[in-house]
C-alpha cells in the first residue's frame, strides 16, 4: 500500500460530532439523504433498501424526480430521501441544484454517499465536497463486483480509515451489503476528514465563516461550504445569498477574491486541485495497482461507436424497438379491445338493463372509448420497457454521441437529442427535460420543436389505422410516422435557429457511462410507472372527454329528435363537426366523423381513437350479446390464452429485420379497424395520421410549455403546429392520391 495522504492535508476530525450523533439517536425519525454521482447504481440501491415503500414525486417548482421512503429499520422509522445524481455540488443542472438545496436547507441527520468502486477518484471528489458540509457522512461502496471485473480491488477498510467515515461494500443489483448499510449509516456516520485547502484559501474561508456565526438563516453545518462556494465564484450561491439579505457577505467574498487574485491565485483552480489531489491519494491508497483491464464497455463501444457501423446499428435498434412493440403487444391489444371489451359490454348492458341512459353511456361511450385507449396499455408497456432498457443500459448516451454532429447541422447538440427521444414517450416530461440544457435559447428552441416528436399517445392512432389500411406494412408505417415527426422537428430547428433563437456559445459535454445490464426490477419499475401514468389519464382525462363527447352526441341539434336517441350526425357534436369539416376536405378527410375525433384529440391524442370508437362503434356496441357470468369468464380466459400464445410465437419473427412487413396474421383485427377501412382510403388515412402526428399533442403539453416559457410561447406553438399539420397533411394527401 502506498503512503496514506499526509496528515497536513487533512482537517482532523476534531469537530465533535458527538452532538450531532446524540441528536440523531434521539430523533424519532432520523432523516437520511442519499447522494452520489450519476450512474453509480443509486436507484438500484435505493430500491433494494426501500423496496415497496419508495414513493416517487416531483420537487415542487422543478420537475426533477424525488424519491422518498419511510422505512422500518429495527423497530424505528427512518426517512430516506434519494437525491438526483450529481457530479458536484456546484449546480450545473436542475438535478444538482436540487441536491445542493436539500443539503443546505434540510440539514439531514445523515448523508449516505454512494460511490462507484470502479471510478473511485472522480466519485471521491463529490465525497470530499460533501465533507465541506459539517454533516455526518456514511459511504456505500457500490458496484464492487463490476470494479473487480475491471481489475480494481478496493480495500474498504483502508478507505474508511482514510476518509474517517464508515464504508460498507454493496452490490445493489443483488441486494448484497444493503442490510448492514443502514446500521452503519445510522450508528456510525461521522463528519469525516475533509480537505485542507491551501493556506490562503483557508484564511479567506475563516474570514468569511467568522461573519456567518450567529446568523440564524445560515445554519452552522453550511458555513464552510458556503464560504468555499463563494470563493469558487458560484453564481447561484451568490444570487441566493444576495436575494436572502446577505449581500454584505457576498461583498466580503468579493474582497477576499480580489486579495487572492492579487497573489495570483484562482480559488476555483486551487480548490478543485486540492480536492483532486486528496481524492487521487485516497483512491491510490485504497485501491492499489488499479490497473484497469480492457472493459466490456470498451469492447462494446468498439462496435456501438464504430465509424461506419455505429449509426446504422442505432437506426436498426430504433426500428427493432418499434417492431418489438408492435409484434409482441398486438395480440394483447386485440384481446383487450375485442373479447374482453365484448364481455364487459355484455355484463354492463345486462346489469344496467333498467337504466337505458346509464347503459348507453357505459356501453356506448365509456367501454368503447376508455376501453380502446386502455387496449394500448400492452403496446406502451413494451415500448417503455424497451426505452428504459436503452436508457438504463447506457446506450442512450451513445445515441447522443453518435447524433451530435447531425444535430449540430440543424443547430442543436447531442444533448438536445435526449429530450427529443424522451418526447417519443411523452411530450410533457420531455418539455421539462429541456431544463437540462444550459442555454435559454436551446431550451426555447427544443421546447418549440418537441411536440412534433411522436409521443406514445399517438401510437394507438397509428396502430388502428395501420391495421385498417396498411396491415402488411404496419410496423414500417409506425416507424415512418416517428421518422416524419423527427424530420419536421429538425427542419423547424434549422429554421428557428437561424431566425428566432441564435446559438449562444458552445460547450457540449456528454458522459458515456459504462454499459450495464439493467436489473429486471428497476426496468419494470420505470416502465410500469410510465404505463400507470398513461392508465391514469385513461380514467381521468379520457373518461371525462368521452363522457363529454357522449353528451354532445346525445344532445339533438335538429327539432323533433330526442335526447340520446338522435342520430350521431344530427347531434350537437355532429353539427359542430360538420361545420368545421370543410376545412379538412382538401386533406382528404372532410367527413364529420374524422373531424369530430380531432377536436377532443386536442385534450389528449389517445382520445382520437376513443372518439372514433365511440362514433363508429357506439351504436353497434349498444346491442351486445348478453353473456352469463360463467360464459363471460370462460370466453375471456380462452381469449387471454390465445393472446399469450400468439404473442410468444411472434417473437422469432421480430428478428427477421430485412422484411419490414408485419405478417398479415399478426395484424390487428378489431371492429374499429374494420370500420375505418371502410371510411378511409389509404391516401386519406395517411393524411389523417400526418395531421394527428403534427398538431398539438395534448392540453398537458400546452400547459407544460406555458409553465416553462409563458402562455404566449405556448399558444404560438399551438398555432404554428396547427398550420404545419394542415400543410403537411395536404401535401401528403395530394401526393399519396397520385401514387397509391
Amino acid at each position: 500500500m502506498t503512503a496514506a495522504p499526509s496528515p497536513a492535508t487533512l482537517i482532523p476530525d476534531e469537530v465533535a460530532c458527538a452532538d450531532t450523533l446524540a441528536r440523531l439517536k434521539a430523533a424519532r425519525e432520523p432523516r437520511v439523504v442519499v447522494v452520489g454521482n450519476p450512474n453509480v447504481g443509486k436507484t438500484t440501491l435505493i430500491n433494494a433498501l426501500a423496496g415497496t415503500n419508495l414513493k416517487v414525486g416531483n420537487w415542487s417548482g422543478v420537475t426533477v424526480e424525488k424519491r422518498e421512503a419511510h422505512l422500518n429499520h429495527e423497530g424505528r422509522r427512518v426517512y430516506l430521501l434519494d437525491l438526483p445524481g450529481a457530479y458536484s455540488l456546484s449546480p450545473h443542472t436542475p438535478e444538482e441544484l436540487v441536491t445542493r438545496t436539500a443539503l443546505l436547507d434540510e440539514a439531514p441527520d445523515v448523508v449516505l454517499n454512494v460511490l462507484d468502486a470502479g471510478n473511485l477518484e472522480r466519485n471521491l471528489y463529490l465525497t470530499l465536497q460533501l465533507m465541506d458540509y459539517r454533516l455526518p457522512v456514511a459511504v456505500a461502496l457500490n458496484l464492487v463486483d463490476e470494479a473487480r471485473e475491471k481489475g480494481v480491488q478496493v480495500d474498504s477498510r483502508a478507505l474508511s480509515r482514510l476518509l474517517g467515515v464508515p464504508v460498507v461494500e454493496t452490490i445493489a443489483s443483488r441486494a448484497q451489503g444493503t442490510a448492514g448499510l443502514l446500521d452503519s449509516a445510522l450508528g456510525h456516520a461521522t463528519l469525516g476528514i475533509g480537505v485542507r485547502y491551501p493556506e490562503a484559501i483557508e484564511l479567506a474561508v475563516e474570514a468569511l465563516t467568522a461573519r456567518m456565526v450567529g446568523v440564524e438563516t445560515l445554519p452552522p453545518h453550511a458555513h464552510r461550504y458556503l464560504a468555499l462556494t463563494l470563493l469558487e465564484g458560484d453564481p447561484s450561491v451568490r444570487g441566493r445569498l444576495n436575494a436572502t439579505g446577505h449581500a454584505a457577505l457576498v461583498q466580503a467574498a468579493d474582497a477576499q477574491l480580489g486579495a487572492l487574485a492579487a497573489q495570483g491565485l484562482d480559488p476555483l483552480i486551487e480548490i478543485a486541485e486540492a480536492r483532486y489531489a486528496l481524492a487521487g491519494d485516497i483512491a491510490r491508497a485504497a485501491a492499489p495497482q488499479a490497473q484497469a483491464r480492457r472493459t466490456v464497455t470498451e469492447r462494446l463501444d468498439a462496435l456501438a461507436l464504430h465509424p461506419w457501423l455505429g449509426i446504422p446499428l442505432f437506426l436498426a435498434l430504433v426500428l427493432l424497438v418499434f417492431r418489438l412493440t408492435f409484434t409482441v403487444a398486438a395480440p394483447f391489444v386485440d384481446l383487450i379491445g375485442g373479447p374482453l371489451q365484448d364481455t364487459l359490454t355484455g355484463w354492463a348492458s345486462a346489469a344496467l338493463a333498467w337504466f337505458p341512459l346509464a347503459r348507453d353511456l357505459v356501453t356506448g361511450a365509456i367501454i368503447p372509448g376508455v376501453g380502446t385507449v386502455l387496449s394500448f396499455l400492452p403496446t406502451l408497456l413494451v415500448l417503455y420497457l424497451a426505452m428504459s432498457f436503452l436508457e438504463d443500459s447506457g446506450y442512450m448516451a451513445r445515441a447522443a454521441f453518435l447524433m451530435d454532429r447531425a444535430m449540430r447541422s440543424v443547430g442543436l447538440d447531442g444533448r438536445a437529442f435526449i429530450p427529443l427521444i424522451l418526447g417519443f414517450g411523452c411530450n410533457v416530461p420531455a418539455v421539462y427535460a429541456t431544463r437540462t440544457l444550459e442555454r435559454r435559447s436551446d431550451r426555447l428552441l427544443v421546447s418549440m420543436i418537441l411536440p412534433f416528436m411522436s409521443c406514445s399517445a399517438r401510437l394507438p392512432v397509428y396502430v388502428v389505422f395501420a391495421a385498417a389500411l396498411f396491415p402488411r406494412q404496419a410496423s414500417l408505417l409506425v416507424w415512418a410516422m416517428y421518422t416524419l415527426g423527427m424530420l419536421v422537428a429538425l427542419a423547424f430547428a434549422f429554421v428557428l435557429r437561424r431566425t428566432s433563437y441564435p446559438a449562444e456559445g458552445s460547450g457540449v459535454l456528454l458522459e458515456l457511462p459504462p454499459y450495464r445490464f439493467p436489473t429486471a426490477r428497476v426496468l419494470w419499475k420505470h416502465a410500469w410507472r410510465r404505463t400507470a401514468s398513461f392508465a391514469k389519464r385513461a380514467r381521468t382525462t379520457v373518461l371525462a372527454t368521452v363522457a363529454g363527447v357522449w353528451l354532445l352526441l346525445a344532445i339533438p341539434a335538429v327539432s323533433g329528435a330526442q335526447f340520446a336517441t338522435v342520430a350521431p350526425q344530427d347531434s350537437l357534436f355532429g353539427r359542430v363537426s360538420q361545420a368545421i369539416s370543410p376545412i379538412f376536405a382538401p386533406l382528404g378527410f372532410g367527413t364529420w366523423e374524422a373531424t369530430g375525433a380531432l377536436v377532443p384529440g386536442f385534450i389528449a391524442k389517445e382520445v382520437v381513437v376513443g372518439t372514433l370508437g365511440q362514433i363508429y362503434l357506439g351504436e353497434q356496441a349498444a346491442r351486445p350479446t348478453p353473456l352469463g357470468l360463467v360464459d363471460g369468464i370462460a370466453q375471456a380466459g380462452r381469449a387471454t390464452w390465445d393472446a399469450v400464445v400468439s404473442s410468444v410465437s411472434a417473437i422469432p419473427t421480430i428478428l427477421a429485420l430485412p422484411s419490414l412487413n408485419a405478417d398479415a396474421t399478426q395484424a390487428l383485427n378489431t371492429p374499429l379497424a374494420t370500420a375505418l377501412s371502410r371510411a378511409f382510403t389509404p391516401a386519406s388515412g395517411l393524411s389523417y395520421l400526418v395531421f394527428v402526428l403534427l398538431y398539438t399533442p395534448c392540453i398537458a403539453t400546452v400547459g407544460a410549455l406555458a409553465q416553462e416559457h409563458g402562455r404566449r410561447f405556448a399558444w404560438t406553438t399551438v398555432a404554428y403546429q396547427l398550420a404545419t399539420a394542415w400543410i403537411a397533411a395536404f401535401l401528403v394527401y395530394q401526393i399519396a392520391r397520385a401514387v397509391l
Binding site: D301, L512, P514
Partner: protein, 76 residues
C-alpha cells in the same frame, strides 16, 4: 515539449492537462470531472460523423466537441 490544444492529439494517445482556457464554457465542470493540472487524458475516438471526440479521464468516458477540446492545453 511545447503545449498543444487537446484536439491536436490523435486517437489512442495520452496527454497531460496543462491549463484550461479561462473562457472555456465548461471550465468549472471539466475541473470537477478531473481536468486539473497534470491529469492524464486519453483520446479514444472520434464519433462516426467526425465530432464529438471521446476521451477517457481516470475511469470516466466522456465526449467533447473539437471546438471545446481546442480550449484545453495539454502536453504529451
Amino acid at each position: 515539449m511545447p503545449d498543444v490544444p487537446l484536439d491536436a492529439i490523435a486517437p489512442g494517445q495520452t496527454a497531460h492537462v496543462v491549463a484550461l482556457d479561462p473562457a472555456h464554457p465548461l471550465r468549472r465542470r471539466l475541473m470537477e470531472l478531473g481536468f486539473v493540472r497534470g491529469a492524464p487524458i486519453t483520446v479514444i475516438r472520434r464519433a462516426p460523423l467526425g465530432d464529438p471526440v471521446e476521451l477517457r479521464i481516470g475511469a470516466t468516458l466522456l465526449a467533447l466537441r473539437a471546438a471545446d477540446l481546442h480550449l484545453i492545453r495539454v502536453r504529451l
